[in-house]
Assembly symmetry: C2
Homo-oligomer: 208 residues x 2
């Protein structure tokens, strides 16, 4: 089944390499760092690195996949979906913005989008192990909210897409274009609270 994993993990210094790659990729992006430096920081020879991974791209993919898993787990652990819908949405929005603003998020977007044409495999894997997972979680949660009578949604998938998009309002574009790279807590609250309010105005079940 998972032969691929076994094929890749064959040496004792595997984790050192991944950890070094994680740090450097997240800090400098894909093109911003050379394989030599990754090997050096890992305390490993370049030849060893290439014994583990067929090329730089697959090393990056592995790092990206792990990091997405990590973020997804953290998010799941932090958020209690039993709380009222607006509260949960607020928490989700703040976590989401946090990821987007992190070195990881910024560089992941940069690489996936920038490299998308030359390296479609990565962008697709990123979508599937990042945004798609979150989308599935959103759908699940929204359906719970509907069942609880807190939400009324005809097109749940569209709603699940709209919420994260709302959270990016005025942030994402300014971030990736470098127009603004630091956002205060107040700024984040403003956009997340705005997202929750807009979302609830449309989909909240107001019977009263």
């Amino acid at each position: 089944m998972n032969e691929a994993v076994q094929v890749i993990r064959k040496g004792r210094k595997f984790d050192q390499v991944v950890e070094s790659a994680r740090t450097l990729f997240m800090q400098h992006g894909f093109e911003g760092i050379g394989v030599d430096e990754i090997a050096r920081k890992a305390g490993v020879s370049k030849a060893t690195l290439y014994a583990y991974f067929p090329d730089k791209r697959h090393l990056f993919m592995e790092v990206a996949r792990l990091e997405c898993e990590r973020q997804a787990e953290r998010m799941e652990a932090e958020i209690d979906i039993e709380r009222p819908v607006p509260e949960v949405l607020g928490a989700v929005g703040r976590a989401f913005i946090g990821i987007i603003l992190s070195d990881f998020g910024r560089n992941m977007f940069r690489v996936c989008i920038g490299e998308g044409e030359r390296f479609p495999e990565l962008a697709r894997q990123f979508y599937e192990s990042g945004p798609m997972v979150m989308r599935a979680g959103m759908i699940e949660f929204l359906e719970l909210g509907i069942a609880r009578g807190e939400l009324e949604i005809a097109d749940v998938e569209l709603a699940a897409d709209q919420f994260p998009e709302l959270c990016k309002a005025g942030v994402f574009l300014r971030l990736v274009t470098g127009v603004q790279t630091v956002f205060s807590g107040d700024e984040i609250d403003r956009v997340v609270d705005g997202a929750v309010e807009t979302f609830m105005a449309r989909f909240g079940a107001n019977r009263g």
Copy 2:
């Protein structure tokens, strides 16, 4: 005042170069095409090209700036802001999605974001001549809608950021990651109409 423009435009084959660059950049992105090919397609020698532009990046910037202007003009010409707010928003949304899905839009995002760290000048200029212009237009229009009594908005800037973001729901990310590259008219209608409905649910002045 515009000495810079005069300094750049000094030969008779300038337009050929820009036009060639426009076509090829929009088709292959920034890194996807070499200067040699741009010169060849322009029917111009490489040396001539470098007589016009200090480097490849500034050539790209010029193309980007012109294309943004072009899109902004087209949008302004097509849309009649005297129509009812939801109708105007629908038209804006469809035009916006159209730009995003075009070769120009896709590659512009790709390059600005991908190249952002190494070439911040471009991303900033893009933000200013593209999204920022649209944002200003949105703000103006929303204020008109408020004055007309069709809208009620406390934070106009946030609302102006939210609408385009809503229009991207489920489209933008799938596009830039290559998960889905073609979108049907029905799909576009679904997301734009959904954006208008959500927006109006929050900001529409329903006194009835």
